[in-house]
């Protein structure tokens, strides 16, 4: 028995059919072709599948697709505008804060959520907020600097 | 004359000889001479070892020439991660 689900993904209305035990991650990647969201573990331990669900940061591998009925999802594909990258994306590039890049989509989404919630995060707050985003390449140093730099730039732009 | 250090793993082939001086001009003549002295040496080397000429590690040395008075080692071929 398939579930019929109406949802909003990256601002666009979407409809899909899914099994009741399918996850949001599976639907995003396999049914909606939004492969920017990555699967690193499938158990909520790595953060590579991070998305915003009604603006709340979650692991899409731990959300049933059926739960998306009537809800809004933002994936990494929905963070930049056609005109410009989000400051988090731009600063990750400028700081060379990615090596292989597999964790980057999750970091982008999580860091955007951090700055939306806390425009002036300390290093410690940034590290704890991003503790659920495993990165095996960078040792986190440049990621933390890039995210704090993005927050600073956004504060500057809005003041 | 090249100063040649023989790999410890092959000392059973060389009868314990560890070091010798040879007048070889290139890798081919070096190996011909070593294989003549220690039968089986060439095969053992080609399977597992790189050549080192004056500190420069060469994995596939067939066409190498040996500078005068060079220091020659054989080193297990290495990869990495």
């Amino acid at each position: 028995m398939k579930q019929h689900v109406c949802s909003t993904v990256n601002g666009e209305p979407v409809e899909f059919l899914c099994a009741a035990d399918e996850t949001a991650l599976e639907v995003l990647r396999d049914r909606l072709s939004l492969t920017g969201t990555k699967e690193g573990c499938g158990t909520g331990d790595c953060g590579a599948c991070s998305v915003l669900l009604d603006d709340r940061l979650v692991c899409s591998c731990l959300v049933f697709a059926a739960e998306l009925e009537g809800r809004r999802v933002t994936t990494v594909e929905g963070i930049a505008t056609p005109e410009a990258l989000h400051p988090v994306q731009q600063k990750l590039l400028e700081h060379a804060a990615l090596q292989c890049g597999i964790c980057t989509p999750g970091v982008v989404v999580a860091a955007k959520a951090l700055i939306d919630a806390n425009p002036n995060p300390t290093e410690e707050e940034t590290r704890y907020w991003l503790a659920g985003n495993l990165c095996r390449c960078t040792g986190y140093d440049k990621i933390i600097r890039a995210v704090m730099d993005a927050a600073a730039e956004m504060r500057g732009a809005t003041s | 004359m090249a100063r040649v250090f023989l790999p410890q793993q092959l000392h059973r082939l060389t009868g314990g000889a560890a070091e010798l001086e040879l007048g070889a001009e290139d890798y081919r003549s070096l190996m011909a001479e070593l294989d003549r002295r220690y039968p089986g040496f060439r095969q053992a080397i080609e399977q597992d070892f790189a050549l080192v000429i004056d500190g420069d590690i060469i994995n596939d040395p067939l066409l190498e020439t040996l500078p005068p008075d060079s220091e020659i080692h054989f080193l297990h071929r290495l990869g990495g991660g």
Binding site: L57, L62, V63, E67 | -
Partner: protein
């Protein structure tokens, strides 16, 4: 039933009716709150089809009511929602810390206090904090409502006292005494993203002279269920919560622990550390109570 099904009732009555109906039809059901434990288990341990009943669209499971009678905490309230409430944090800082320790920011956005309790892991972070606070489970089911103290709700590893057709709607915490506070600490090798190797929750109250008048101590990850440790509480009551009293409480926790050795820690280690955590949590709760945080 050959495949999974999913329903999200939007009222308590609808949920109770749905669960009763499925029970009649002998359909296996499972309650979904945050899903952070359930989906992992469904992928790895038990793949059998069932009906998933999502209780997050029921208003009572999502509300936080803080009043003169205490706190009513909806079972599906997430850690992130709870820690955003400064008024709750002021009175039950230990409970909020416990909820805040469950997983990453991402998990915080989903995992609920009620789900953490129902999952009944020996290492569940909110359970000792709830027990220390004297929390009561409010349960809806075919027979109506019932209430059960948290320490009686968890009956074994992964097992709770819910009967078929029942589900946890909310948790009720008694109103805080003047000059009282709670604290919760756990030990993990990493700073985040980890499961408690041992944990301790303490709630206590002091009189105007700083003498401890009431205390409850609960410990986690050192037995098949979280344990209420009356001996540790007794070691604190009547004292000024000085080093000796806190050390005595620590010793009582260590003595009460019945841990196992596993991949997360050895038996001896857990015994020692649960004492350390009890002592440290008692000191934090004392300082909070004396600081007038209650």
């Amino acid at each position: 039933m050959e495949s999974f099904a999913y329903q999200a009732p939007d009222s308590l009555d609808a949920a109770v009716a749905l669960l009763a109906e499925q029970r009649e039809a002998s359909v296996r059901t499972q309650i979904l709150a945050g899903g952070t434990d359930m989906i992992v288990q469904l992928r790895s341990v038990d793949r059998a089809p069932r009906m998933i009943v999502d209780i997050k669209r029921i208003p009572e499971t999502r509300s936080i009511k803080l009043g003169a009678d205490g706190l009513i905490l909806g079972a599906a309230v997430t850690g992130a929602e709870l820690s955003a409430r400064d008024d709750v944090t002021a009175i039950y800082p230990g409970l909020v810390e416990a909820a805040d320790l469950i997983g990453s920011t991402q998990i915080q956005g989903r995992a609920s206090v009620g789900g953490n309790l129902c999952n009944a892991s020996p290492a569940g972070d909110t359970i000792p904090a709830l027990i220390a606070n004297g929390a009561i489970c409010q349960i809806a089911g075919p027979g109506g409502w019932r209430e059960l103290p948290v320490e009686d709700f968890v009956v074994g590893v992964g097992r709770n006292a819910l009967e078929p057709g029942e589900f946890l709607v909310a948790l009720r915490l008694p109103a805080a005494q003047p000059r009282s506070a709670d604290a919760y600490l756990r030990f993990t090798p990493r700073s985040e993203m980890d499961i408690a190797v041992a944990s301790a929750g303490v709630r206590l109250a002091v009189d105007e002279d700083g003498v401890c008048t009431e205390a409850r101590v609960a410990i986690g990850a050192v037995a098949v269920t979280a344990l209420l440790v009356p001996e540790a509480a007794e070691a604190l009551i009547g004292t000024r919560l000085d080093d000796a009293a806190c050390a005595a409480a620590a010793a009582a926790s260590t003595a009460a622990a019945r841990p196992i050795s596993d991949k997360r820690g050895t038996e001896a280690y857990r015994r020692t550390v649960v004492g350390v955590l009890t002592r440290r949590a008692a000191v934090i709760a004392r300082d909070r109570a004396l600081g007038g945080q209650a």
